[in-house]
């Protein structure tokens, strides 16, 4: 660099270091991409031969693994962990040392949370169907290196996989998720169908309530948006508490159909043309025809419904779950019995809770601004202390 450029105070040396960092980032990303894509020059015939051999080997392994898994499922792991009313059966070969301690702590936390949310009526949930933690065989490892499978004894389908270094939070959450499906298995049919076979065994985090507020505001369904604006009757529709005959017209207005169809992946070829006609030209008849070709989605996500149920359990106190199990009738009646208040009041309370958790928008609060300015002052003072 010339004297003039140096004196100009350009980013000279600093620029070189930044360029170096950027070059390293770029080259690392490129290298990662190449490694991931398995680039390399190889003979095509060799590749085919190796691939064929690998496939045959993989199929044989898979068959052996499937039969071993079926056999293993019939037998519960020998070791157990108990925490409060919670029972876990764990594979001692894999669940040991740090992993075991993590799962023990998670079980204790989960037990407390279950007792707080569902009360003593949930104490015997895992006696007949304990939470099972098995080790996965080496040939079944996923690329993420998972070694543990969490499931429920006697309840196929629900399983989560983790590495041995799973965190306490992950383990707690998994246990609570599994217990939630057990808790729902005893619930009245109407509620079980409404909540898709799961009851929250924990209190919803504040950030999730904020998500529901956003969901209400941006829903493609007019009933959800009307709920956001204050129409409680529409809130009940949005939450699926009111029977509907025609979901497409009772949950979505004609002006919503276009947004709905635009969000869907391409349909069958004969319907796709109609869908595109709706999306590109906005022809209402085309929109209705295309929309009826598929299942109409719920106005709000299942998580929103489950949060209403969670609120009912919270409102109802320690015996709420017991009353839920004993309740009869439709969803509204079950929820009312659980909460100990009318369904209208429960829904109103749910809406108020959701809107209260609305993100505060972009406006920084006074405390936030104050802390930021305090850091500014602190850093500026630090900067002035050192003389070159």
């Amino acid at each position: 660099m010339s004297d003039a450029a140096r004196r100009r105070g350009g980013f000279g040396r600093a620029g070189r270091y930044v360029s170096l960092a950027l070059a390293l980032i770029a080259s690392t990303l490129l290298t990662s991409t190449l490694v991931a894509s398995g680039a390399g020059a190889q003979d095509a015939a060799q590749i085919r031969a190796r691939t064929l051999a690998a496939s045959r080997h993989a199929l044989a392994m898979r068959a052996r693994y499937d039969s071993a898994r079926r056999a293993a499922r019939a037998v519960l792991p020998s070791d157990s962990i108990r925490a409060g009313g919670l029972t876990l059966r764990v594979d001692p070969e894999v669940v040991r040392g740090t992993t075991r301690r993590t799962i023990e702590r998670a079980a204790a936390r989960a037990s407390e949370e279950i007792r707080r949310t569902l009360g003593s009526a949930a104490d015997d949930l895992t006696i007949g169907n304990p939470v099972v933690v098995r080790g996965l065989p080496a040939y079944a490892l996923t690329w993420r290196g998972s070694r543990l499978a969490f499931g429920l004894a006697g309840v196929p389908g629900r399983a989560s996989m983790y590495a041995l270094t799973l965190s306490e939070h992950e383990a707690t959450r998994t246990i609570l998720d599994l217990v939630g499906s057990l808790a729902a298995s005893r619930a009245p049919d109407s509620l079980r169908a409404w909540t898709y076979g799961w009851i929250p065994a924990f209190r919803e985090e504040e950030s999730r309530w904020a998500d529901f507020a956003v969901e209400l505001a941006v829903s493609r369904s007019f009933v959800a948006r009307a709920c956001h604006r204050g129409a409680l009757g529409q809130c009940e529709r949005a939450l699926g508490l009111v029977p509907v005959h025609d979901k497409l017209t009772e949950w979505y207005a004609p002006e919503d159909w276009r947004a709905l169809l635009d969000s869907w992946k391409p349909l069958d070829p004969d319907v796709e043309a109609v869908r595109r006609d709706c999306v590109e030209k906005g022809v209402p008849a085309s929109c209705e025809r295309a929309a009826r070709a598929r299942t109409v989605p719920l106005p709000l996500t299942m998580a929103a419904r489950q949060s209403l149920l969670g609120l009912a359990l919270e409102r109802g106190g320690t015996d709420a779950y017991r009353r839920l199990l004993a309740a009869r009738g439709g969803v509204r009646e079950v929820l009312a019995a659980t909460a100990g208040i009318g369904a209208d009041s429960l829904v109103a309370e749910w809406r108020a809770r959701v809107l209260a958790a609305s993100p505060h928008g972009t406006r920084p609060g006074a405390a936030e601004a104050g802390f930021a300015l305090a850091w500014v002052v602190l850093l500026s003072v630090a900067a002035a202390r050192r003389r070159p």
Binding site: A4, R8, G9
Partner: protein, 301 residues
Amino acid sequence: MSDAVLVRNLDYRAGKEFAIRDLAMTVPAGSVYGFLGPNGSGKTTTIQLLLGMRRADAGTVSVLGHDVPAGVHKALARIGYVPERLHLYPTLTVEETLRYHAAFYPDWDTARAEQLRREFALRAEQAVERLSKGEAGKLMMLLALAHTPELLVLDEPTDGLDPVVRRDMLNALLEYVSARHATVLISSHLVHEQERICDHVGVMDDGRLVAEMPMHAFRSGIKRLRITGAPRDAGSPPFTLLTRGLRAGREEEWVVRGWQTEMHDWFTRVGGEVREVIDLDLEESFVELLRAARKSEPEGN
């Protein structure tokens, strides 16, 4: 205040190689002090220590009555400084530089600055990075003079400049000094130039001040003597012997400081004879001083 600059027992080390050791220096108020020394002798470092730009490891420094570094900013407001290298922001124009600089000096004389700018033929809208070396030197001199300082500190101000520019700058300097009775500390390795303007001189070599005296004493006090017959151990002469060496035959050459005519008798007493007394000009005196100073340094320094 009788001394503009007073330094005692100053120590400073920069890295493993270079050090300023036990420096003592006095710049009388109202004098033009020539700070001589070869390149790398520590002149610039000493000046930076005086101005508080570096921090000494030991010793005391007082500039215009203010201790450095404690009161250096009060002193700097009364000092005009021209550094060895251009120290201005290259992307600013001459006018922007003047405005920026003026903001820091309460005694800035805008009319005087404008007058000097025209005298030095500097265009206001020209960027500093586009100035020639001579123009840049003039700009720095302008900035130093325009706030009417009591002390001017000039570090090799004419180094690398053509004779015309050098003359212009020195004339401006002399004019200022005679009008304001300011003190000037000017460092240079161009000895002949210092001879014209300085009335005090300090000679720096390898981090030490090897000599400090009025200019007339420097100019006239160092002589080269041609001697014969002087014994090897001549005792304590009444002058300062700087160097002694053999010439052709049995003749010796002595370089001495503080010589006076009546000192011939001393040679007679010790059995020697003064064949010739040669006056040295400033440059030769400077070289002999340095040679003597380097000879007296212990081995390994």
